[in-house]
């Protein structure tokens, strides 16, 4: 029988809930607000790279719902953003498969603006120079942070089951 829920879904929700709470409490207190990473975005991108788009889509949906509870935007917008980020990641992965850790950086670099784009109109952020600068900064932050965190995420992912069968060593 085909399973539509990942086998590890029991752990998925507590992990995402913890990340969402940290995103709403710890991250906003860090200095340099323009450089704050989005933990749920990083998690969804990493999940897609490790386990493919099916699990990535699940993480995007659950993570997006949790973000939607904590943010002032209409519920569902964060889900849209994270789904876009997951498919951007998949596209980068498909094009550059086997190209090493650069895939991780490029996927996160492109997934960040993909995530933020649908959110901008609801946050009353006009698409002008300051907003584009914010998107570029977010792309750089996520693009440089995920390659650093990825080995740890992969190890943690291995604790849930078998290590993801993807060779990132290039």
């Amino acid at each position: 029988m085909r399973r539509w829920l990942p086998a590890r879904w029991g752990l998925t929700l507590p992990v995402l809930a913890l990340l969402a709470v940290l995103q709403g409490t710890l991250i906003p207190t860090l200095p340099l607000p323009a450089l704050h990473p989005n933990l749920l975005l990083l998690a969804a991108v990493a999940r897609t790279l490790l386990r493919g788009p099916f699990e990535g889509v699940w993480w995007a949906f659950l993570g997006g719902v949790l973000l939607g509870v904590l943010d002032p935007l209409p519920q569902g917008i964060a889900v849209l953003g994270l789904l876009l980020a997951v498919w951007t990641t998949w596209l980068v992965d498909r094009i550059l498969l086997g190209q090493g850790a650069g895939v991780v950086a490029l996927a996160a670099l492109l997934a960040a603006p993909a995530f933020y784009l649908p959110l901008l109109p609801y946050a009353h952020l006009p698409l002008r120079e300051a907003t584009l600068r914010l998107l570029a900064l977010q792309a750089l932050v996520h693009g440089s942070l995920l390659p650093l965190l990825f080995p740890l995420i992969r190890r943690l992912d291995g604790l849930w089951g078998e290590i993801a069968p993807i060779d990132w060593t290039g």
Partner: protein, 274 residues
């Protein structure tokens, strides 16, 4: 696997779009309320811990600054004690004069609910905070939120045990205001998403404004359904003034009176009793 992911995406996409369309309606609100009830008990101790750590770091970093601040506060207390005595005398005189003129006494008293800040907008795109009081504590959208230093914002939405507060610097915020001294009226709007913090607009052109002038709430609201905004709450101080010959009004950039980046406790005005 890819086909299943695509189908799942379509299902989630459709449900996300449906939720966006139904945003604010009962089914979505109930769902959000249920989830926030699960998250708030985790958020509260975490926010408290983070606040305590920040305070400790701040204390270690700024011991000398604290000593200096302490000295300044002692001086300020002396000045304010004298001022308070003078104001009490004026208030008594005002009460007597109003009685003589047959005017109703005007002494607004505020019913306040103290709340702890337990979070901020996770995406960092809006200027919104979460507080640990909600509908169960009598809070409702539109209520004013204060800090001892000045106005913080208004309640944006409420859950059973938590609420979102729209800070005055968010572009969606607009507060009717007046400049202390000149009594010049105007509208203070948030400008955070547009690159600054606060801007006061529609100030009559003939009024002379100076840097450092205090701007307070005027107490006016846009509709009778809107909860009352107490008058005289500091909003900010004038930083720069802008007005051209051809303009009908002048504008001023303000610095918020309250430090909106470091809020830990706030007070919600549940009722303004005349």
């Amino acid at each position: 696997m890819l086909r299943r992911a695509a189908v799942l995406t379509l299902v989630f996409l459709a449900s996300a779009l449906l939720t966006v369309a139904l945003s604010g309606r009962a089914p979505v609100r109930i769902g959000e309320d249920g989830l926030s009830r699960l998250l708030v008990p985790v958020q509260r101790p975490l926010a408290r811990g983070i606040g305590a750590v920040r305070d400790r770091i701040g204390r270690l970093e700024g011991y000398d600054a604290l000593l200096e601040e302490n000295r300044q506060l002692r001086e300020a207390v002396q000045v304010l004690t004298r001022e308070n005595a003078r104001l009490q005398a004026l208030e008594e005189e005002n009460r007597r004069l109003r009685r003589l003129l047959g005017l109703r006494a005007r002494e607004d008293s505020l019913v306040l609910v103290t709340a702890e800040v337990i979070g901020r907008d996770p995406e960092g795109l809006r200027q919104v905070i979460w507080i640990d009081r909600g509908e169960a504590d009598g809070l409702a959208p539109g209520m004013a939120v204060l800090h001892p230093d000045g106005l913080v914002g208004r309640i944006l939405s409420v859950q059973t045990h938590s609420a979102q507060v729209l800070l005055i610097i968010d572009v969606e915020s607009a507060v009717s205001a007046q400049v202390v001294g000149s009594q010049a009226p105007g509208l203070v709007e948030g400008r955070w998403q547009l690159g600054s913090r606060l801007r006061m607009r529609f100030i009559p052109k003939e009024v002379q404004l100076r840097t450092g002038d205090l701007v307070v709430t005027s107490g006016l609201v846009s509709s009778l359904e809107e909860p009352r905004m107490p008058p005289g709450i500091p909003i900010g101080r004038i930083l720069t003034v802008r007005g051209r010959d051809i303009d009908l009004y002048q504008e001023a950039e303000l610095i918020p009176a309250a430090d909106l980046d470091r809020l830990r406790f706030v007070q919600v005005v549940r009722e303004v009793r005349p």
